[in-house]
């Protein structure tokens, strides 16, 4: 078995902005702007960041739902960046995705059974309808739904149940790797826990590898072994999740952790840490992109963009300085 299932090197995804009569490219939205990381086989790799930071684009680009602008994606030792057609199809079978909104990701006119069977037909995994049906029913049971619901339509299900259907569909091709793009953020609290439990048990049972994209730090902490923090198209920090929470090294990570409210009225805090909003990914600031909101920023930060460097083993940070946050970060470092 390969240790790193996925290796991403220097990945860029820029979306052109066209305008005028001739549709000339005026500028680019730099959604993913030079990102490198690897995902180990069998782990849940978290990607966390605020809206517009490029985390969803990153997830889609890794499984090549969108073509990268440049950079390379290596899937279990093989470079799949340039693969097309039939060769790519083989890999697409191994990589699946579950989207955020189960109301939009299921076709309202297709029964859920047919939605789960369709990928199997496309990839020729089953001989006939009967085999597909029995497999789909097995999958429904596996995600905690009643196999009798096979011929029902999505509108007959609640949000949590629909998300289970979407998970069953992703599992229909026996994938190795699943991108989970905010799989629980449109669900209610009491249902969210059910889906997260399901995802964890499936990972263990089926030896899956997850890339878990979320803006919710609590969910990330619960689910992921390692986590990357994204800001404006770049990864600013990668480490083991417990390290990110207990010993964050990037000022943005610290600020993010400090703005999370805790469900405990005895631990109220002065929440605010960051002023202002995320800048536009069209006009990216020079130097370090976080500097406008960073209280530690100096002239060096404006002149030179920092590189992602390994400051301790397996702990990568993109910052010029090694700031001691031990007093600041305390609020969020209680482990049970």
């Amino acid at each position: 078995m390969v240790e790193n299932l996925i290796e991403v090197k220097d990945l860029y995804k820029w979306f052109p902005i066209r305008s005028g009569l001739l549709g000339r490219v005026k500028n680019y939205v730099r959604a993913v702007d030079g990102v490198s990381f690897s995902i180990k086989t069998g782990e849940t790799f978290g990607v966390v960041g605020e809206s517009g930071c490029g985390k969803t684009t990153l997830g889609r680009t890794v499984i090549k739902l969108t073509e990268p602008t440049s950079g390379s994606i290596i899937y279990s030792g093989r470079d799949i960046t340039k693969l097309k057609g039939r060769k790519m199809k083989e890999y697409k079978k191994k990589m699946q995705i579950v989207f955020q909104d189960p109301y939009a990701s299921l076709d309202p006119r297709q029964t859920i059974g047919s939605a789960i069977m369709e990928p199997m037909f496309i990839h020729g995994l089953v001989r006939d309808r009967k085999e597909a049906r029995s497999k789909a029913e097995f999958l429904l049971e596996q995600v905690g739904l009643n196999p009798d619901h096979f011929s029902r339509f999505p509108h007959e299900f609640s949000g949590g149940q629909r998300q289970r259907v979407a998970i069953a569909r992703a599992l229909s091709l026996n994938p190795e790797f699943i991108v989970l793009d905010e799989p629980t953020s449109s669900l209610d609290v009491s249902v969210q826990a059910q889906i997260l439990n399901l995802l964890s048990s499936l990972r263990r049972k089926l030896n899956l590898t997850y890339m878990f994209i979320s803006h919710n730090l609590a969910v990330i902490r619960q689910m992921c072994q390692r986590t990357a923090v994204m800001y404006l198209g770049r990864i600013v920090e990668i480490a083991e999740t417990s390290r990110i929470f207990e010993n964050p090294k990037h000022p943005y990570t610290v600020a993010l952790l400090k703005s999370v409210p805790l469900p405990d009225p005895k631990k109220r805090k002065m929440l605010v840490s960051l002023e202002g909003d995320v800048p536009s990914p069209v006009n990216v600031p020079s130097g370090c992109r976080f500097r406008a909101r960073c209280k530690y920023a100096t002239e060096l930060c404006a002149d030179k963009a920092p590189e992602l460097i390994e400051i301790e083993k397996d702990h990568w940070v993109e910052c010029h300085y090694d700031i001691d946050f031990s007093r600041e970060a305390k609020v969020n470092t209680i482990t049970a």
Binding site: E50, S190, L262, D277, T333, T335
Partner: protein, 369 residues
């Protein structure tokens, strides 16, 4: 029943909702959205109204604000604002109440702001719409503000004169309304309020828009500010800014805030008291510390256990079995009983009343009598 009788809180209660029952007519049948809401809001507090989607928390707020959709039918109940029943009031009284006593801020500011009118103008328009009603609050606010500014002295005399005469031309009031709007924008900590005044909603970021919405609500000097999921669409860092603002405003303004949210962490961070809703009922009300340290209702317990915390890692996440019932055919008796681990015979037959199980801690569950 005791909620309406109230104990020592009586004089401090600004708003009281009692036995509010409400249906929505739909093609699929009548949706029994609210099933006898009992609620009161004290002066100057932040009350959190929490529950999952579809539990009726927004509808409760819309009913209070008088903004219910056409297909809603109120079956019974009272909404008393300082003793005056809004459900039985005359049209003109309701208009005044909506204009100056109850203000609401919504989840998605872009839907509620007019895209073709500058932000500031949308605020000054409110006070200009009723010169008599707003003359006093506008002048008082400006006097307050001018006392701190250097050029304020001459203005002060003029303002005091207008306040005494109670007479001001439409044009002059327009100018004052603009200054007032700017001072409101400043109050919600928008940077450079003079410039923001003439900006359009699309030029502002999500957090700034939400601040503008709050400014618009505060401009009316409301007694009740209904904040419906105001931070849900925002990023955590921006949410933190808005929550901080709410906490700061609480001490500066005269209003009670009802914060409607599904996020218990937000409640823990800013609220004084919490009302938990489930399927059209208030199931538990208590001080925020009590709700978190000693929840009584099985639903509240389940909800608290299913919270995923950033500071605690659990092996197995807990959740409440089943899902929210369809309110066209709600379960008989206690609406939570099909999901409740403690349900017994009586629960499926009779509906429990909201009773005071401990001082100022109300719960509607047969486990407590």
């Amino acid at each position: 029943m005791s909620l309406t009788q109230g104990s020592e809180d009586r004089n401090r209660v600004v708003l009281r909702v009692s036995n509010l029952k409400l249906n929505f007519h739909t093609y699929g049948g009548d949706v029994k959205v609210l099933d006898g809401i009992e609620l009161y809001v004290r002066k100057g507090e932040i009350l959190g109204l929490v529950g999952e989607s579809g539990c009726g928390k927004s509808v409760t707020a819309l009913a209070i604000a008088g903004l219910l959709p056409q297909n809603a039918e109120i079956l019974s109940g009272e909404i008393l604002l300082e003793g005056k029943n809004l459900l039985a009031a005359k049209k003109e009284e309701i208009r005044k109440a909506r204009l100056s006593e109850i203000a609401m801020v919504f989840q998605d500011p872009m839907t509620y702001l007019n895209p073709v009118i500058p932000i500031g103008k949308q605020i000054s328009e409110i006070v200009e719409s009723d010169r008599q009603l707003f003359l006093k609050p506008v002048i008082e606010e400006l006097l307050n503000e001018s006392s701190t500014s250097r050029a304020g002295y001459v203005e002060r005399k003029k303002l005091e004169r207008i306040l005494k005469d109670g007479n001001v031309s439409k044009r002059e009031f327009g100018k004052l309304a603009k200054l007032y709007a700017i001072s409101m924008l400043r109050k919600v900590r928008l940077p450079d309020p003079e410039r923001v005044y003439s900006m359009y909603p699309f030029e502002l970021s999500g957090g700034m828009r939400q601040r503008a919405m709050i400014a618009m609500a505060l401009a009316r000097k409301p007694k009740i500010l209904l904040a419906d999921e105001i931070t849900t669409a925002l990023d955590v860092t921006v949410q933190a800014q808005i929550l901080k603002l709410l906490r700061e405003l609480k001490d500066q303004i005269d209003a009670s805030i009802v914060l409607i949210t599904h996020d218990l962490a937000v409640v823990a961070e800013v609220c004084d008291r919490v009302a938990v809703m489930y399927a059209g009922n208030i199931v538990e009300v208590a001080d925020v510390e009590r709700i978190f340290s000693n929840p009584l209702h099985p639903y509240t317990k389940g909800l608290l256990e299913s919270i995923i915390r950033p500071d605690v890692v659990k092996d197995e996440l807990k959740s409440i079995r089943g899902s929210v019932p369809n309110l066209i055919n709600p379960p008989p008796g206690c609406r939570f009983h099909p999901r409740c681990p403690f349900a017994f015979g009586r629960c499926s037959i009779e509906k429990p009343n909201l009773i005071e199980a401990e001082p100022n801690h109300y719960v509607s569950c047969f486990l407590y009598g």
